[in-house]
Amino acid sequence: MIHRLTSATLALSLGLTTVSLPAPSAQAAMAKKRKKKPSFDTEAHAAQRTEAQDGARAAADGGDLEGAADQLQTAAAESGDPVLYLDAADMILRAARDNRSIDTAENSREPARIALDVLYFLDDEHADPDWKVADPFPTADLITRANEHMEKVDELIAEIEAEEEAARAAAAAEEDGKKKKKKREKKPGTGMLIAGGTLAGVGLAGIGVMAAGIVQGKNAQAEVEDLAPVAPGDPDYPAFQDADSRGKRANTIAIVGATLAGIGLIGGATLIGLGIKKRKAGKNEEQASVWMAPSIGGVVVGGRF
């Protein structure tokens, strides 16, 4: 047992004595290893971001918002920088606001979505801790910015849709007004033609009435002639008187019909004639034109009135 303990003590002491300190050169190598340069150069990335932002700002100041957005998106796609993606989204939204374009506003969502993808990934355990692409901005702030962008897009789209709806309503009202005006502006002579037509109709009806009166009168006359001669007190006298009065009434009807036919046909024809004349005159007025044509040694001016 003592022998065993002695061996163990010896082994321990030997072990302690053989522990060697790292040589100075090895120490330097270890320190170098510890201070390993990160694979993502934050300073260079910040410089690239600033360069892209400056270029985009210059383009935007020159009125080229789409060009500015393209520059930002290209730079963002190279590095995956969510800040540049959000800048691009803002620039596209600015263009949409200027152009009042819903499509452009919708297009501004995608860079903001990509920014959100990157930002959520940066908070994921699978992200490379050296890849500090959003620095110096906290990801939470940038996520808020992206979500606010989406809200701004919704607001702008609602605003543009309201404007378009108002414009449509105004256009419809204007169109309606034009139609009503057109309705009110009848062709010249229309009134006369309508009155003439109505009067001619009355005249034709008068002819009918006159014809009916003549037929009735003829029948009554034949009846009277059959019963004559009769004197008051004769058994046929009431029938004679009845036929006589019917004959007189038929004559009156025929006279009234003839008068109506005469007035109606003559008046109607006159008014129709005047209406046609007026319409023709109106057409000629519409077709009046002046024309010019080159001619030998000058210009010929002509017109149609």
Partner: protein, 137 residues
């Protein structure tokens, strides 16, 4: 004593099943075709291991990769997504002909907070085309 041993073996087995697959498993149990949220086109140029990630050791091992680069094309079926390779931004789907080094790569495709595909994509040392479709879009 026997009981304790059995309990320990059970715990180790459970831990092995729940823990992410170790990097050494890349050589085996690799899958071509569709697996969970990602499909690889036939051609034998790559393998997909869903829901796994490379260990630090594996990352160190594959820092210097030898072999032909592969050309990765990736699309998200019926949606959109941003692709992250080895912990960094690769691009926005659809991606076409992006050169990737041979060996395993951590791949994640996400749409905002929603992770569409996550796993290890192994590119063949022979190179060639790698066509992937994310089906979780």
């Amino acid at each position: 004593m026997t009981r304790i041993k059995t309990a320990f073996t059970g715990a180790a087995l459970a831990a092995a099943l729940t823990a992410p697959t170790p990097a050494s498993a890349f050589a085996e149990a690799t899958v071509e075709g569709c697996e969970e949220d990602l499909c690889l086109a036939d051609g034998g140029n790559g393998k997909w291991k869903p829901d796994t990630r490379m260990s630090k050791k594996e990352k160190r091992k594959y820092r210097r990769r030898r072999g032909e680069t592969s050309s990765l094309s990736l699309d998200v079926e019926g949606g959109r997504g941003t692709v992250f390779l080895d912990g960094r931004f690769l691009g926005v789907a659809p991606l076409s002909s992006v050169e990737i080094k041979p060996g395993p790569h951590d791949l994640q495709v996400r749409d905002g907070e929603n992770v569409l595909a996550q796993g290890v994509l192994v590119a063949s040392k022979k190179g060639g085309d790698l066509e992937a479709t994310v089906t979780g879009g």
